[in-house]
C-alpha cells in the first residue's frame, strides 16, 4: 500500500467519525476511535480544505473538530411557507377604524364598530404588519392604543393617512349608501363571528 492509499483510508475514517459524532471531537477523542495513526492534524487539515467549497464544512473550534453547514447557506435551512389569507370582515372593519381614528383604543373601536372586537382580530392585523400598539392613553385604566404602520401605507399605496378619503369622498363614491352586507349591527357586547 502506498502512503496515499493509507491516507485515503484514514481520511474516510475521520470523515465518518466526525459525521457520526454527537459533539465536536478533540484530537484525543478522534484517536480513541481510529487508533494510534501518528499525527492526525495534517490529514484533518487536508480534509477541511477539501470541504471548504462545499455546503458542508469541517471546522476546528477551540481544538475540537466538527462538520457544520456552510455559514452562507443558513437561509436554505429555514423555509417560510407563504400562505395567502383573506382578511375577515371583522378584520377589515377594525383595520378601517384604526386607520381613520388612530391612535384608538379597543373600547373606542368597539364603540365605533358597534360590536365587541376579539383580541384575535387585532392580533391578525399585527401579524399582517399593518397595525402596531401605540402607547397607552393617559385615562383611567390606561388602555392600549393602536395605530397603523408604514407597511399599512405601503400596502395600500398611500403616502400618508391624509390620503384616506374623507366622509364627503366616501359619500360621493356611494360607499355610505350601501347596506352593510350580511352582518347586522349587534348591540354593544355582542360577539363577533
Amino acid at each position: 500500500m502506498t502512503d496515499e492509499t493509507v491516507d485515503f483510508a484514514l481520511t474516510r475514517a475521520l470523515e465518518s467519525i466526525l459525521f457520526a459524532a454527537d459533539a465536536p471531537l478533540s484530537l484525543t477523542e478522534i484517536t480513541r476511535h481510529v487508533g494510534e495513526r501518528g499525527d492526525l492534524l495534517p490529514t484533518l487539515r487536508a480534509l477541511a480544505t477539501s470541504y471548504e467549497p462545499r455546503g458542508i464544512n469541517l471546522v476546528e473550534r477551540g481544538g475540537k473538530w466538527q462538520f457544520q453547514t456552510a455559514p452562507d447557506l443558513g437561509h436554505f435551512l429555514r423555509t417560510s411557507r407563504e400562505m395567502v389569507k383573506k382578511l375577515s370582515r371583522a378584520g377589515v372593519e377594525t383595520l378601517a377604524v384604526i386607520a381613520y381614528h388612530e391612535p384608538v383604543t379597543r373600547p373606542e373601536i368597539e364603540e365605533i364598530r358597534g360590536v365587541a372586537v376579539s383580541g384575535g382580530t387585532i392580533d391578525v392585523l399585527m401579524e399582517a404588519g399593518w397595525v402596531r400598539p401605540a402607547g397607552r392613553r393617559e385615562t383611567p385604566g390606561r388602555p392600549l392604543q393602536y395605530a397603523t404602520t408604514p407597511e399599512f401605507l405601503a400596502h395600500f399605496n398611500l403616502t400618508s393617512r391624509r390620503d384616506l378619503p374623507g366622509m364627503a369622498d366616501l359619500k360621493a363614491a356611494g360607499l355610505l349608501d350601501r347596506e352593510p352586507p350580511r352582518e347586522l349591527p349587534l348591540p354593544l357586547g355582542g360577539r363577533e363571528e
Partner: protein, 258 residues
Amino acid sequence: MIEADEQFDLPVRAAPETATLILQLGSWEGPLDLLLTLARAQKVDLAQISILALVDQYLGFIRDAKALSLELAADYLVMAAWLAYLKSLLLLPKDPEAEPDPAELALKLQFQLQRLEAMRESGQKLLARPQLGWDMFRRPNPEGLAEEKRATFECSYYDLLSAYGAITARRSRSVHVVRRRPVMALDEAIERLEHLLGRSIDWTELVRFLPADLADESYARSVLASSFVAALELTRQGKATLSQGTAFAPILLRARHD
C-alpha cells in the same frame, strides 16, 4: 462420476446428517417446518425432491414420536393424515379422471416448501446486509430544518374603504333615525283632555275621553296613564274636579266653574 476403486483415496467423510435428525418436536415451527427440514436432509434441489420419500419420512417421524409417547400437536397429525392420503393417491395406478390430480398436489407441496425455503434464506441474506446503527450511522443530533409559516393577508383598498363606509352608514342610521315610541306625551294628554273637557259640567268617566279603538296595547296603556296624570294636573290647576266613589270604581271628571 467417481470410479469405485478411486474411493479409497478419498478422505473419510463425516456421517450424513440424516442420522442426526433425532426427534425434537418442539423446535419445529409446525408441520411445514418439519417437512422442510426433512426435505433438506435429502440434500437435493427442492425442485427435484421425491415427494413420496418425503411423505414416508414424515409418517415415519410421526410414528416414532408416537412410539416415544411424545405429545404431538394436532396439526402434525392432520398433516400426517393428509400426507398418508396423498401417498395413497400417488401409489395408485394413474387415473386421468382423478380429482384432485395427485401429481398436481405433490407439485404444490413442492412449491410451498421451495417458497418457505426461499423466504428463510432471504431473511438471512437481509440480516447479513449492512445495517443502520451498526454499519452505517446518521448524524445523531442534526439541527433540523426549520419551517416558518408566514401568512400574508389579502385586503384591497376598496375592501378597506367600503368597510369604513359600512360602519359609518350603520352609525349614522342609528343616530338620526329615531324609532317612533308608542307613548302619548304628558303635554299632549293635558292639551287633549282640556280641550275635550271644555265646559262640561256633567260627571263623565275618564275612559270616555280616551280615543277609541287603540290597536297598539302599549300605546293604549300609555294614553291611559298620561290622561290620568293629565286629569290630576288639570284638577291641581283648578280647571277640573275628580271624583271616585270607592276604590277601583270608575274615575269621574267634570269641568270646574268658579
